[in-house]
Symmetry: C2
Subunit: 405 residues, 2 copies
């Protein structure tokens, strides 16, 4: 299969400055892809803390099981990531592969194997060639450098058409700290959790017990509100590492740091939507007037996951009847005769019927653009939520009908 073109919705990778206490290296380990990097090693300063959020899929990959097991200690010395093979549904071989990789990395980086986090993404059900990973580790260690983010964002890609990164700074405990994030993901992306892999690094000094609830809340407001195709990966992993090198006062007000973290997460989540397999349009769906925020979110996701809504948008058809259908199938409180729908800021349907004097022309123009805005007002209460998705096009079929070939 020819390599798909870069998404028309792509955004350039921002400059991601070095994070004190962190070094990165990538290599072409030849796990599946030829002629590109496919493996990432991150070295974290002794004393680094970690938080994580993982897929809710009940058939997770071996690396997810490993990370879940070691996360409660809250300490990290390294991260090893490979693309091309997800090490999912590989039985005992998968389990021994993660243990072997963690042992080999710990021997090089110091610390315990149980401080080495792992992530794999790619094909499911094929045994991971762990000897290739282990053989590549010494070379990776030798190549560790402080400014390796652009390379790292590339090395973790699978069907992604562009690398994804985001960065923010925040004042924390008398110092300015930085948060960098990279992510990969463009299919099998749906709550709960969206992108397969997302790694965040900060020089802040914060204990795992403070990082974890902050990360969980941030993921709920970002990756859990995007969907490409309603499918949930077996490998979804978000990890936040804090090296502590900034030397800030740990007891300080964390409000600004929390906001910056949430912004990085939302940036990355929306980049994943912009790289949705075959995506030609970026769709923002705002649901208002629901009986609760949770109800609004579920209705938003029902619209975002509807193949009929997504194909209509691909066809630049302002087919709000399909939005009515999706609202009605969500299983949440809805009253046909109170429902209003706007596309591109124009109210097309008002309280159960076509809006009086509705003029289709501005909506038709909006549908031809790259960024589609839909507002649904249920007219029932104060519940509100926003979700993001992309359209469903021939490109999605092309990519997923021949992924393994």
């Amino acid at each position: 299969m020819a390599k798909p073109p870069v998404s028309p919705l792509a955004r350039p990778l921002p400059d991601l400055p070095a994070i004190a206490g962190l070094r990165l290296a990538t290599t072409a380990a030849g796990i599946r892809y030829q002629g590109r990097t496919d493996m990432l090693l991150a070295e974290l300063a002794a004393g680094s803390t970690v938080a994580g959020v993982f897929t809710r899929n009940l058939c997770p990959g071996a690396p997810v099981s490993w990370d879940r097991e070691i996360l409660p200690a809250g300490r990290a010395r390294g991260l090893v990531v490979n693309a091309g093979n997800a090490n999912v549904f590989t039985g005992l071989a998968g389990l021994s592969a993660v243990e072997e990789t963690a042992r080999a990395a710990a021997a090089l980086l110091g610390g315990s194997p149980r401080e080495i986090f792992l992530a794999s993404t790619g094909v499911i059900g094929e045994v991971l060639p762990v000897h290739k990973l282990v053989a590549a580790l010494p070379g990776l260690q030798a190549g560790l450098r402080e400014d390796g983010f652009a390379g790292a964002a590339h090395a973790i890609m699978t069907t992604d058409t562009f690398p994804k990164g985001a960065t923010r700074t925040a004042r924390l405990g008398g110092r300015t700290v930085r948060i960098n994030g990279i992510a990969k993901g463009s299919g099998m992306v749906a709550p709960d959790m969206a992108t397969m892999l997302c790694f965040l690094f900060t020089d802040a000094a914060l204990p795992a017990a403070i990082l974890q609830p902050m990360l969980s809340a941030g993921v709920e407001a970002s990756f859990n509100r995007i969907t490409i195709d309603s499918d949930t990966s077996t490998s979804d992993t978000v990890l936040l590492f804090a090296t502590g090198a900034a030397g800030n006062d740990a007891g300080a007000d964390t409000g600004e740091f929390r906001r910056a973290l949430h912004e990085v997460l939302l940036d990355l989540a929306l980049l994943v939507v912009r790289d949705g397999e075959g995506a030609q349009k970026f769709i923002t769906i705002t649901v208002e007037g629901a009986v609760s925020d949770a109800s609004a979110k579920r209705i938003g996701l029902a619209i975002a996951n509807s193949p009929l809504v997504k194909t209509a948008i691909a066809g630049e058809d302002a087919n709000w009847g399909r939005i009515v259908m999706a609202v009605g199938k969500a299983g949440e409180p809805a009253d046909r005769d109170r429902l209003s729908i706007a596309i591109g800021g124009v109210w097309m349907a008002r309280q159960g019927g076509v809006a009086p004097g509705y003029d289709e022309a501005p909506v038709v123009a909006h549908m031809r653009g790259r960024e589609i805005d839909i507002i649904v007002d249920l007219g029932l209460g104060e519940g509100r939520s926003r979700v993001w998705t992309c359209d469903l096009t021939h490109g999605y079929i092309d990519i997923n009908g021949s992924y393994r070939s």
Copy 2:
């Protein structure tokens, strides 16, 4: 848009003999389509009984609201169906359109307007041109005939590529009775309920109170186990009319009739899958070893609704890793290490890993065929269910990206 070709999975329309007590007529009322019939009138003998099952979508069309309101009386004299406009989300205009149509039909056929059932299918959110329906009714009445099933099956089609019908006979109360059914549907098809419109007619004499539970159970075992695209129509309607002309003893054992009814329903449901928009392959998914039948059904539907599973099958790729993913996202009890998967009768994955000695060749050959069989054994209990779907292809995008244009 060019008319899509007839589905390669199509089956010929069987001969549907006349049902005593029923007459049918169709016409080209010009509601939306040009050059084809788009309206059906059915006249039922006085004393006919009726049962019905409707969409669970909370934004149903006006005809569904009407039918639900008049169904409890259990009596029917007529049925009026149009294709091309669904009369959904049309506010007060939609409500007055159904009342006007029912009144006009009752004036011609006799009986009360509340014995006239209605169904509309097609575009949502456009006002139904009720004057065209009312103007066409006298001509329809004049053309009523006893052998009109083939025409009826054609007149109710929208994006369907072939007409759908099924027939059975059964012994009931000393007589042989017949059940004929016709259906339409090829997209926006998902539980709960699948096809938009399905009409069944029998000459049996059975009260509505006996018909209704029989029909509900039959729909649960047929239309509620198929899915094309996970979308649920606002117009789904199944109606069963019994003219009583066979003169059977009503107190008789109904077992054989019930079985025949269920067979007609399942025939029609599977024909809808065979006409799934863009379908190239017919997929049967059997889930075994679940903790309950209901759990097995939900897991089966998670597989059947997964765009990644459906595109893999379109690409003739036996990508069982995506089946693992879909099992894990269903939210039902599952244990990765007990899971086994067979495609085309070949066990590819056994208890959490690749099956020992697995040979891909027969599976590759199976994937090239039109009929794909998937078995998932969860290894947990005795729960079992079967669901049906089709693949997700470029044809689906073609049809739904330009349906209104």
